[in-house]
């Protein structure tokens, strides 16, 4: 445990930004089919002289509701799944952390299992969506632990 080096705030911030870009791009690609479906529905209405039948209006509204629900669900769940399984994998970190050459370990030095990674991802997601300032918690202790690191008893080290 002696010559292990903490990753530092800057590297973690850059890794977080890279993760955000990757997730954002992935979600944009995943939502393209929804746009296509709506385009087809609009074409259908346009062929009838711009007027929708009642059935078509109901179908469009139902489709809109379902797809907005799906989008919200995906936006909530995908970051959690991504973070959990990437951190629990042999790489010990998300893609952003791989790029920055850092990894997540437990305080004992081992890798995380899926359960601990899930706790870490959940607390990370909750602090991120409550207030972004809470990520600055790692500046106020010598082990550079954020709230999610304290919850899962982990450290972020240089790989």
């Amino acid at each position: 445990m002696e010559n292990l080096k903490l990753a530092g705030f800057g590297k973690r911030l850059v890794a977080y930004i890279i993760d955000g870009i990757i997730l954002g791009a992935a979600m944009m690609i995943a939502f393209i089919p929804f746009g296509g479906l709506f385009a087809f529905m609009g074409m259908n209405a346009a062929q009838n002289g711009g007027e929708m039948t009642d059935e078509a209006a109901v179908a469009t509204a139902a489709m809109a509701g379902i797809s907005i629900g799906a989008i919200v669900l995906v936006a909530l769940v995908v970051p959690l799944i991504y973070d959990t399984f990437m951190t629990a994998s042999a790489k010990q970190g998300t893609l952003g952390k791989l790029v920055m050459n850092i990894k997540v370990v437990k305080e004992t030095g081992e890798g995380l299992n899926t359960q601990e990674a899930f706790i870490r991802a959940l607390v990370k997601y909750a602090t991120g969506s409550f207030c972004i300032f809470l990520f600055l918690a790692c500046l106020f202790n010598k082990q550079e632990q954020n709230l999610h690191d304290m919850a899962a008893k982990t450290l972020v080290l240089e790989a």
Partner: protein, 121 residues
Amino acid sequence: MQKNYYKILLAVVAMAIIAFYFFYNPAKTNVGFQCIFNKTTGLYCPGCGGQRAFHHLLHGNFEKAFEYNLLIFLVIPIVGIKFYEEIFEKEIMPQFVFSRQFLIVLIALLIVFTVFRNLSL
């Protein structure tokens, strides 16, 4: 080389963030990052107004920045010191930052600030 490329990346990211907030006014355009907590509950978290405050700080309007979020005057120096430490590999962060008393004062300030901004607004 391996070490230097990340320092360059860090400096570029820091400058990109500053340039972004210099030209982007969160109060006028609606493009940037929205606060999920504020959107769902209508309450203000300690960080709300931080982007607007930073924008005005970069333009030199200290009073406006103070109005939007006074914590920005605490956050910017600490994050700045941290970035400096990592890029130049010198430890200049004052040690009292890591003490328990400082942390308690900080948390108390955070809670009081959050409660009061939700009462008055």
